[in-house]
Structure formats: structure tokens, C-alpha cells
């Protein structure tokens, strides 16, 4: 056995040990990451899943003309100003005949959501013949009732409702007059002070318009900048300066972009505040460096031999870029853009500064309507005192995460698809 072989054999065991150690480090890191993710998801889903359901209470509602103060159910004016809360209260009093004291009556009527009144108005508008009749209806319960019904033994004891209220609800529950239903309004309505009425649709629509503006601005600008810097710009101090600055911008805290938007777009150019166009502009500034950097990286991966081949055939620089570089670099650029968009979708800080933190009840109909976005909605709900908003916050986070996962999956799929074509 030669001396080299001897040396090699001696060191082999050590090398394999080092390799195993190295692999173990990797596995441990991944395990930590996955565990953190699992904890995050369990926590969010555990807290948030209840927000996808809400409770309804069965009541015999009498559409009494006197209480409602409505004579003609065909008159929209009268319908609008009817005292619907009154008939809900009457119905509750009828259900619990022992309650007469003023304070107790107030507590009793607090069992139902104020949304119940609006629901009755809509029902009466559709069925004017119900005036004067009694109908058995399922009406939306108040968020405290909802929480109480969802809670376990201990949660019920801790509930902030009074002893009487708890007794009433337990009675209703025992009689089978409460029902758990899917919370469709969570996905179809805007924000509200009442948790049982609040939804994320306005935030989703706001996010959609904001992202649309961001994508339409940042992708073309970013790609054009990347192509110019990679393919056309002369290599000199000035381009180096630009490059350093782009890399710097990518690391600037996003709230600075919000301040910039406030100073430039709102104060200087007079863009209306709180609108998706403004949010889109600010997020464009924030996303641009990401898109430029990833686009440049993917342009760099296009082999120079392809460029030379095209140029050798007499293609102009422009044609080389359009025919060869761009198609080959596009998957990478798209991935970068989608990752940038996902980042922008989750961005809150700059939007707080440009007024997208407003309380928006209406669903925005265009990029020029005041609106809020998903992460800001989460921020707003997390800040709200009502207990039910805890679950709503987690539910909204789930929706946001679903969007992010969808976008990132799309990025991966697009890249795979487009790459396979070549």
C-alpha cells in the first residue's frame, strides 16, 4: 500500500463524518423552518377557522304596522325609516315573556345583531304582503352571542355577557333555536364596526386594483430598465452608480417609500389619497428594484453564444434582445415580477402613510375609489377592541396567505412551463 493510499484512508473517516455533520445541519435548519411554519399555520387556522361561521337565532317576527311605523309597504321612504329594531325587540320579548325591566330589555335586544334589522327591511321590501303578519325567521346573532355559542365550557364562563343573557342563550340553544351557518358575508361585504357584519371583500378588491396598478407599472418599467442596463448601457461610472443605487433601493425600509409617496404623489402632484392608484404608484417604487435585479439576473443567464449567433447573422442589437434574450429571460423575469408582487401584496407600512388605512365600508368600483388592502385590513382588525375581531384577523390572514401561496405557485408553474418550451 502506497503512502498516498494510507493517507487517504486515514482521512476518509473524518471526511465522511464532516459530510454527515454538514447534511445534519441542513436537515435541522429545514426542520426548524418547517416547524415554525407549522406553528404559524396551526395558530392562525386554530384562531381563525371559527370566523368562517356565524350563528343565527330563530325568532317569530311580527311585522306590526304600529311598531314599524309603516302604513304602506310599497313606499320605499317608509320602508327605509321603519323601526325594525323595534319588532326584533318585540319578538325577543315575546320569546322571553318574563322580561319587562328596561335594563333587561336592553340586554335582551343586544342578543341580536343590528344587521338583523337591515335583513328584515330587505325581506319586507321583497315581500310587502308580510306587513301585519308573523313570520318565523332565522336572524343574525350578535358577535358576543356568536362567541359564546362557539366557545367551550370555560370560554362560556369567561364571556363578558351578563348572567341573564347567558341564561337566555342557553335556553335558545337548548330549544334548538340557534344555528351555525357558513359566514358568506365575510367574503362579500366590506368592513364594519360590528364583527358579525364585517367582511374582507372591500379589502380584496382594493388589493386587486392596487396590484393591478403596481403590475402594469412596475413590470414594463422594470424589464425595460433591466434590458437597457444589461444590453445597451455603456459600462462606466454612471451605470455603476445606478446599479449601486438600485441595490440600495431594494433594501430601503418600505415605510420610506410611503413617506416619499406622501411627499411627491399627494403633496406635489395632488393624487387623491387612499386610492389604489396611489397605493399602486408607491408599491411600484418599492417593487421596481426587485424586478430590475431579478430581470437583470435572468438576462445574464442567457448564454452569450446565442447573442453572438444572432449578431453574426446580422441581427441588430434590438433584434437580438427581442428575438432571443427576452424570450429566454422571460420565465425568470416573470418569476421575479410575481415574487415582487407577492411582496407588494403583503406590504402595509407605506400604505398607512398614504391614507389607505381608512375605514372603508363600500366595495371600491375602480382604482380611483377610496379603498383599503388586505394587510391593512388585518392591521385594522388586529387593532379593534371587539373580541370577535381576533378570529376575523386570523381569518383575513388566512385569505392573504392563500393569495400569496397561489401567486408563488403561479410563479413556479409559469417558470416550469415557459422553460420547457425551449
Amino acid at each position: 500500500m502506497s503512502k498516498t493510499t494510507e493517507q487517504v484512508r486515514k482521512s476518509l473517516a473524518r471526511r465522511y463524518r464532516a459530510e454527515r455533520r454538514f447534511r445534519a445541519y441542513g436537515i435541522i435548519s429545514i426542520a426548524i423552518g418547517l416547524a415554525a411554519l407549522a406553528i404559524l399555520f396551526t395558530d392562525i387556522i386554530g384562531k381563525g377557522h371559527s370566523a368562517f361561521f356565524e350563528h343565527y337565532v330563530k325568532l317569530d317576527i311580527t311585522f306590526n304596522e304600529q311598531t314599524l311605523d309603516i302604513e304602506n309597504a310599497g313606499d320605499p321612504e317608509q320602508l327605509n325609516y321603519g323601526n325594525y329594531d323595534g319588532i326584533v325587540r318585540e319578538a325577543l320579548k315575546a320569546r322571553f315573556p318574563g322580561v319587562t325591566e328596561r335594563l333587561q330589555v336592553r340586554e335582551l335586544s343586544a342578543l341580536m345583531s343590528i344587521g338583523a334589522g337591515y335583513e328584515l327591511r330587505d325581506l319586507l321590501r321583497e315581500n310587502p304582503e308580510w306587513l301585519g303578519t308573523t313570520q318565523t325567521l332565522w336572524l343574525l346573532a350578535d358577535d358576543d352571542v356568536d362567541l359564546f355559542l362557539k366557545a367551550g365550557e370555560k370560554g362560556r364562563e369567561d364571556s363578558r355577557m351578563s348572567v341573564e343573557q347567558k341564561a337566555w342563550i342557553t335556553e335558545l340553544e337548548a330549544a334548538g333555536d340557534t344555528e351555525r351557518r357558513f359566514n358568506a358575508s365575510f367574503f362579500s361585504s366590506g368592513d364594519s364596526r360590528e364583527p358579525e357584519l364585517a367582511g374582507i371583500w372591500s379589502a380584496v378588491v382594493g388589493s386587486f386594483f392596487t396590484m393591478l396598478v403596481t403590475l402594469c407599472l412596475s413590470f414594463p418599467i422594470g424589464v425595460a430598465a433591466a434590458i437597457y442596463l444589461e444590453e445597451f448601457a455603456p459600462r462606466n461610472r454612471f451605470t455603476d452608480f445606478i446599479e449601486v443605487n438600485i441595490n440600495n433601493l431594494a433594501a430601503v425600509p418600505s415605510i420610506i417609500f410611503g413617506l416619499l409617496g406622501l411627499a411627491i404623489f399627494i403633496n406635489l402632484f395632488g393624487v387623491p389619497r387612499s386610492v389604489p392608484v396611489l397605493g399602486g404608484l408607491v408599491l411600484t417604487l418599492m417593487t421596481l428594484p426587485t424586478i430590475i435585479i431579478t430581470s437583470r439576473a435572468s438576462i445574464k443567464t442567457v448564454p452569450p453564444s446565442i447573442r453572438e449567433a444572432a449578431m453574426g447573422l446580422g441581427a441588430s442589437r434590438m433584434q437580438v434582445v427581442l428575438h432571443h434574450v427576452l424570450p429566454l429571460a422571460l420565465p425568470g423575469m416573470l418569476t421575479g415580477a410575481i415574487i415582487g408582487m407577492a411582496q407588494a401584496l403583503g406590504e402595509t407600512a407605506p400604505l398607512l402613510l398614504i391614507g389607505m388605512v381608512a375605514f372603508i365600508v363600500d366595495i371600491p368600483t375602480g382604482p380611483l375609489d377610496a379603498s383599503t388592502v388586505l394587510p391593512v385590513q388585518i392591521y385594522l382588525w388586529a387593532d379593534s377592541p371587539e373580541q370577535s375581531f381576533v378570529a376575523m384577523t386570523s381569518a383575513a390572514i388566512m385569505v392573504l396567505l392563500a393569495f400569496l401561496i397561489a401567486m408563488n405557485t403561479l410563479a413556479v408553474v409559469l417558470r416550469k412551463r415557459l422553460e420547457r418550451r425551449w
Binding site: P234, R235, P303, S305, I306, R307, E308, A309, A310, M311, G312, L313, G314, A315, S316, Q319, H323, H324, L328, W422
Partner: protein, 296 residues
């Protein structure tokens, strides 16, 4: 300064793939061996390309020193020499591929027939349509075989009708000796072919625009002997219609395919002669040293 350092310095200063393997300038004895002028017969009557006193610089570094050479019509000129001697650089300045390198500067008289290549009025797109190039590594576009060959003609609008384009593609592939192998899968990706087939595809792509001159930069260096033989055969056939300048590291190849051979040494053109003369009775001692394998 030791040799490694010197090489490093060259590498950073030149920004070029080829580096001198041996630095003869380090040895003062050999300085005197450079001929005053290129020996042999660098000039021919009625040349296709007339090149006089060509200097090429990379920044402050002079890669080509006063090279004068004629490339005759329908002849194959082989450029040989040790690595880093500037053959590729010289070849690339013949269709201005060096333009893409910012720090590269070419001076001297370079004429394609009576047109000055570096005249500001000269259109580089037109020039490259007339002087095509085949590269060291096969570099087909990641497109179909058909689209690869049709790219040039489409670019220059050489064919208006589909059948005209089909015809150009077929003739080019036939000339490149690839037609029989690929006629059934013209729409398969060009990158799926073997190395030798890819290189012939690249030649087909180059001749599809009917250039007057074809520059080949070590076209066989990445190929096996069989594929190399096919390309050499092809070069022979192409001489009928094209003028060819080929850079090669294989002296056998130069001997097989070329009419004239030019020997480059450290950026200088040492000797140009009929291929037979160069390989049997080289006039200059550096040429002799190279072809007998004393360096390179």
C-alpha cells in the same frame, strides 16, 4: 514579476478568453526573431478581403500588431498559431464582432472588395449579412431546426413566400450535409441534435443568408473526429461558392482544408504561404518551430 503574475495581469487587462500559453517576450533572445515584415506571400491578385496594417487593441493592450493579409476569392485561408496569438481576435474584427466589446479598438485598412469595413457609413448589419460567422461551440438557437435556418433569411427579408423560405432552408441544409438527417424532423428543437449536427446546423444557418465570406472560429474544436471529418468535407464543398477564413488549432486540419495558411505569433502575422509550403518548407523559424511541435 513571475510568469504567473504576468499572466494574471494579461488576463485582467485583456478581457479575452485566450491567453498566451508561453510568453516569449520574457525571453530577450527571441525578440530578434520577429520578421520585419510578414514573410511569404500575404497578398494575392483581386482579393475578396484586403487587410492592411491591422492593429487591434483591448484597452491599452495591443492584441494584433500591423497585420496585412489578403483573402482571395473562393479560397480557404487557415489561421494557425499558439493559443492567445490573436487569430480569433483578428477573425472577429473581419465582421466587426469585436464591436460588442467596449474596450476593443480596431485600426488599419480593412476592405471587403472596395468597401471599408470600419467606415462610419458602413452598416454593420449589412456587413454581417455579407460576412457570416461560425463559432467555436455549436450555438443553435433554442428553436426548431427550421426556424434556426430560417432566422437569417427572415431577418433580412430574403424570402417573401413560405415556399421560398422552405426552399432556402432545404438548400442550406443540403449544402451543410444535414438535410437527409433532419428532413423528417425540421420542427424538432435544434438543440436536440448531436454536437456535430448542431455545428452543421450552425453552418447551414450561416450560409442561408448567402454570405460572400464565411469566418469559422475553430469550428471543430468541440467535435469528435467523425463529425470533424464531415465538417471538413463540407468546407471543401463550400469553397465553390464562398470564401472561407478558418481559425484552427489542428495543423492537420489546416493542411487538409486550406489553400493558404497564415501563421500568427503573439499578435503578429509571421508567415503566409501556400498551405503545402507552410507545412513542408516553412520560411520562418517560428513557423517551423510551431508546426514541428516545439511549442503551442
Amino acid at each position: 514579476m513571475d510568469t504567473a503574475e504576468k499572466l494574471d495581469k494579461n488576463a485582467s487587462g485583456r478581457n479575452h478568453a485566450e491567453e498566451p500559453m508561453i510568453d516569449l517576450e520574457e525571453q530577450p533572445m527571441q525578440e530578434t526573431r520577429y520578421p520585419e515584415h510578414t514573410v511569404g506571400t500575404p497578398f494575392v491578385d483581386d482579393p475578396k478581403m484586403r487587410l492592411r496594417d491591422v492593429d487591434v487593441f483591448y484597452g491599452d493592450n495591443q492584441a494584433i500588431h500591423k497585420v496585412s493579409l489578403d483573402i482571395g476569392k473562393n479560397e480557404v485561408v487557415a489561421l494557425i498559431g499558439p493559443s492567445g496569438c490573436g487569430k480569433s481576435t483578428f477573425l472577429r474584427s473581419l465582421n466587426r464582432m469585436n464591436d460588442t466589446i467596449d474596450i476593443c479598438r480596431v485600426t488599419g485598412e480593412l476592405f471587403l472588395e472596395d468597401q471599408d469595413l470600419y467606415d462610419p457609413k458602413m452598416d454593420v448589419v449589412e456587413l454581417r449579412a455579407r460576412v457570416g460567422m461560425v463559432f467555436q461551440k455549436p450555438n443553435p438557437f433554442p428553436k426548431s431546426i427550421y426556424d434556426n435556418v430560417a432566422y437569417g433569411p427572415r431577418l433580412h427579408g430574403l424570402a417573401n413566400k413560405k415556399y421560398e423560405l422552405d426552399e432556402i432552408v432545404e438548400t442550406s441544409l443540403r449544402k451543410a450535409g444535414l438535410w437527409d438527417e433532419v428532413k423528417d424532423r425540421l420542427h424538432a428543437p435544434g438543440t436536440g441534435l448531436s454536437g456535430g449536427q448542431q455545428q452543421r446546423l450552425c453552418i447551414a444557418r450561416t450560409i442561408a443568408v448567402s454570405p460572400e465570406v464565411v469566418l469559422m472560429d475553430e469550428p471543430c474544436s468541440a467535435l469528435d473526429p467523425i463529425a470533424t471529418a464531415k465538417i471538413e468535407e463540407l468546407i471543401d464543398e463550400l469553397t465553390e461558392s464562398y470564401t472561407i477564413a478558418i481559425v484552427t488549432h489542428s495543423m492537420q486540419q489546416a493542411a487538409r482544408v486550406s489553400n493558404r495558411t497564415a501563421y500568427f505569433h503573439l499578435g503578429r502575422l509571421i508567415e503566409v504561404n501556400d498551405t503545402e509550403t507552410v507545412f513542408t518548407k516553412p520560411e520562418h523559424e517560428l513557423t517551423e518551430a510551431y508546426i514541428t511541435g516545439r511549442f503551442g
